[in-house]
Symmetry: D2
Subunit: 338 residues, 4 copies
């Protein structure tokens, strides 16, 4: 077994950042490095039970702290950064969720404005059973409980934006960011187009689980111990984030209205399938139209996210990019020892 390069990143409280772009590198790593990172939850760990309201404990500019940015040696504009999620494990045995005034899909917001009073600000504390891989909802207004599987994921991961922009960690875009799709789970590889030297990867916003749409605006939020494996694919920029799992390839669109996010993801997947399967664009359009799964990511953030995914083994003979398979094999090596 080859020796693995491993870098550990556990930021001090003042090292967390709240933007993509605009911050100096927390670390420099080579492609092929395993990164063992700690990420705080979206409220920086300051909301722990029903009495601790986000508005009081973690006002807006402090929300969604990120671990990063990580400078990846050799990554240049025009390249593609591959981020393989080797492991995503909750770092505590509890998590929180909340309703935040004027935020979420089933309330008027600052952008979908109304004259109605906002819904109440409320906190739910979930308990996590790390051994059994479950999490438990405790109703506020009754004794009801519900225990369901965990499905740990990162709501936020991305690189520095193009054109010198600096974006809040609450915002998603072409560079990734606050995508909030449950598809970013253990075992997948995310791809991002590199916009600046070093790519400047950051991540955070762990969720023990999240419904598709993140309807109330807040998932089951928890700190995470996460292991990444980083790679750089030279000169193969991608315009929007992509994901590959053992079974699927996936394109992500970010926009408002939601149909625009859908269009972006579907077009990207059609082009991906066209190239991968050597199909004409119209043949790929036909095939994707009949095979695609289209789970919604979020309908609450500054940009909504839509995912278009297709099973790899349903596609015609193809020229598959070997990156995911290679990273997956390396990850299995790591997991044998860790």
């Amino acid at each position: 077994m080859p020796s693995l390069t491993i870098t550990r990143l556990r930021p001090t409280p003042e090292q967390f950042v709240q933007t993509f772009g605009g911050a100096p590198a927390l670390a420099h790593v080579d492609a092929g490095t395993f990164l063992e990172v700690f990420t705080e939850d979206c409220y920086a760990g300051w909301v722990r039970d029903e009495a601790e309201l986000p508005s009081a404990m973690c006002p807006s500019p402090l929300r969604n702290p990120l671990t990063g940015p990580i400078y990846v040696n050799g990554a240049e504009p025009g390249d593609r950064l591959a981020v393989h999620f080797v492991r995503i494990e909750p770092a505590r045995n509890w998590a929180v969720s909340a309703t935040v005034p004027s935020f979420g899909a089933l309330t008027s917001t600052q952008l979908t404005a109304s004259l109605q009073p906002p819904l109440d600000e409320l906190v739910w504390r979930w308990t996590l059973d790390l051994e059994h891989g479950t999490c438990t909802f405790h109703a506020r207004d009754s004794d009801a409980r519900a225990t369901v599987p965990m499905d740990p994921m990162h709501g936020t991961v991305g690189v520095a934006p193009a054109n010198g922009e600096v974006r809040s960690s609450l915002v998603p875009g072409t560079y990734g960011g606050n995508l909030d799709t449950p598809e970013i789970r253990e075992g997948v590889t995310c791809y991002f187009g590199v916009n600046v030297e070093g790519a400047m990867l950051s991540l955070g916003d762990g969720h023990a689980r999240q419904g598709e749409g993140e309807t109330c605006g807040v998932a089951v939020e928890c700190a995470m111990n996460t292991v990444l494996l980083i790679d750089v694919i030279k000169a193969q920029a991608c315009a929007w984030p992509r994901i590959e799992s053992d079974t699927h390839i996936m394109s992500i669109g970010v926009a408002r209205p939601l149909e625009d996010a859908f269009r972006i993801a579907q077009r990207d997947l059609v082009e991906w399938v066209s190239r991968r399967c050597r199909l004409s664009l119209m043949d790929a359009y036909q095939l994707v139209s009949q095979l695609v799964e289209s789970p919604i990511g979020n309908v609450c953030d500054a940009g909504y996210t839509s995912v278009a995914k297709v099973r790899k083994d349903w596609l015609p003979a193809h020229d598959a990019d070997p990156t995911h398979a290679r990273l997956r094999a390396l990850a299995l090596d790591y997991l044998q020892d860790h």
Copy 2:
């Protein structure tokens, strides 16, 4: 075993209808009846290969012929119609799909207008292997093929609209109609609020399979032999269509932009879970937000459809409506003999 009431409906060509509302009943049936119906494909069977273009073979007012309307004795405004899909089987060993100018999600349309020329009108003929339950895509511009599982479904099913409206069979709405979601498959029960005496159920638009979003605007279209079991739940109107399967309850929203369809479906599911599980509305909001699956139905029709679904066995102890379970048991009786 009790004797089953079975009614067969195979319309003559001139008996098909192209609207919800506005047509006389094709048949009158009692609740508890099994309906064995034949439905034509969305092009009335006139588009059979690449040379037969929809614009020539089946111009607009003839598209999406429906079998119905079926007058259900005893169904009155304020009631809920339950339509259980006992069986959905392709009636031929082929199906067609197409791109239609100015229609579909990845083209400008009459509503999302642009000055660009439309994409070409093209037809794909799929072959169906009824024995193995698969369907095969044949590329137009290469020798590529892809054989994938069938997942037969009805794109269009619904009742007469309220307020004396008559709607084209190409349009979805609160009354159901051209919902175009793959969730309407064998084994589920659909619920519709009844707007007129007799409910006036119609259905058609069979798909051997359909991707989520029906991206190019046309699924794998085929005639179907379908068996329904009908029931009426008195005085329990539902504002939007709902679906129940053995595993999930599902709400459907229809609107543009797509986030409005999402909001409708999610709110309806939150209210459903709140009542079913005796949770406060805010507790149900929290729980649904973490558990929900949100597959897109269509992003091409006059109204887009979004589905919100949640696993029944993940919900807290509850007062479940027994209708689906009862219809499912009756359907299994039927299937033993047919």
Copy 3:
């Protein structure tokens, strides 16, 4: 001076209709006829002061009663109906407005759903000064008043829809209907594509004035005495409603989201200017982009409306359709005597 053909239409209460399509003709008239019609307000005259709530006095299926349909002899599918508004005069010296629960642009609605309680149902009674052409707002919660010019208009005017559809009078579409744009005022000519024999023109929903967007969902609603002059232009169907005034040509788009309504109206105006001014499509695109005024019609109905208008005297030398000028001249004859 030639003799004028004049038909008076003042429906009995039971003669009002609530749909476009689906009703028998109230009258048959020839092209060139002046129609003196009475229209009720959107609440059928039953909401007269702050104590009379729409939900109690005029429940949903009775709202927006129309005068019509009027069968225009000789109008056939493929033709264009021209409706010149000779005069629009409030029929009473008062009008009402209201906020209706879950309706309007600054509240969540049945389509833009939320979990918030709706805003209150409230009525405002406006007073109209017909002599001075003003109307006066009386605040409910203070002594404040505001007297502003009247600008009488019809929110609802249109023809029977295509494809056998029947639509609620509350809905706008390609056939016109509840367009709710203040551009439909005295002195303009509206054009509608004819879908059925006789066109079947209906109108109602008079507004003493209306802001652009009809933000709260209800304008200054009043009964109207209105004079129309009808004409038929053979074989020149238009896909969407158009308006011509002495100064402007205008296209109307109806859709959701609002940018789709904008796109429809702008494309239609570009095509109109291209043909009228013998400009290439791209030259017309450029010119319209710099000259267009784009007032919003409504952002509360089932379809939002966007108007694209351009000053006729700013356009290059052209082949103008003479219809508006001809109808305007005839209208001046009428007005001299009436």
Copy 4:
């Protein structure tokens, strides 16, 4: 007459900036200062005729150069910056417009994606007659011309964003930016909430005129000599940009879909009128709904803009903010001498 403080700003080519936020101050000024600034056109002056395509002459990161940022002494977060436009004069006797591939309202774009080929990249050169205040369109594909009034304006003006964000000059938002509404013309005062010390005002993107919606994505673009008068209103932050003219108060909303921009602007205007006229919120909602004009700004940028405006002299007796009147009077002093 008091002496006026005047600062002249004419950046060297390398001094122009392409972002709001992220750049050091070009100048420091006091409140009450007159600023005589030169702004380049959106293509930095490099596109001068039909042969000079934007994609070749001024690739994306160089577009929309701004003059600024200007540090206003004493402006702090929580304050409101008032920017009065004393004069806006084209700096050359020509201007350009263009169609840019995958940009504009009547084409598919990177966000409203389709599989259609983009429209052609074309340039139009307009001529400006500064003496008569007119500009002339020259058709590309014929000899047609159209001479129309100029209405000089700035498409882009704003301050540094909140939360450490840096945004491209092509993007609009709460901080102003690329708003692209023709309402920002000579004689108006714009208000922006201050997010950072010094406010950091920047502007550019002069238009000799622009249609409402900026349909093709590009206005009649020209360099400008513009005179501003700056003021700071302490502790009266505004969440979204506002405008005041001699006749109207106006709120601006920026969002997608367009109805969200509409909702933002209308709600802000309702709140403004409520406070200014001492009306309850529901009374203000009613009054604004009947009086409001709602011109669209742009339907092409990363955020669409909608303006809600109401005539000041139609509003009930009120507590008007004196800022605009005071700046207007000072501006008239300046204009007497300059």
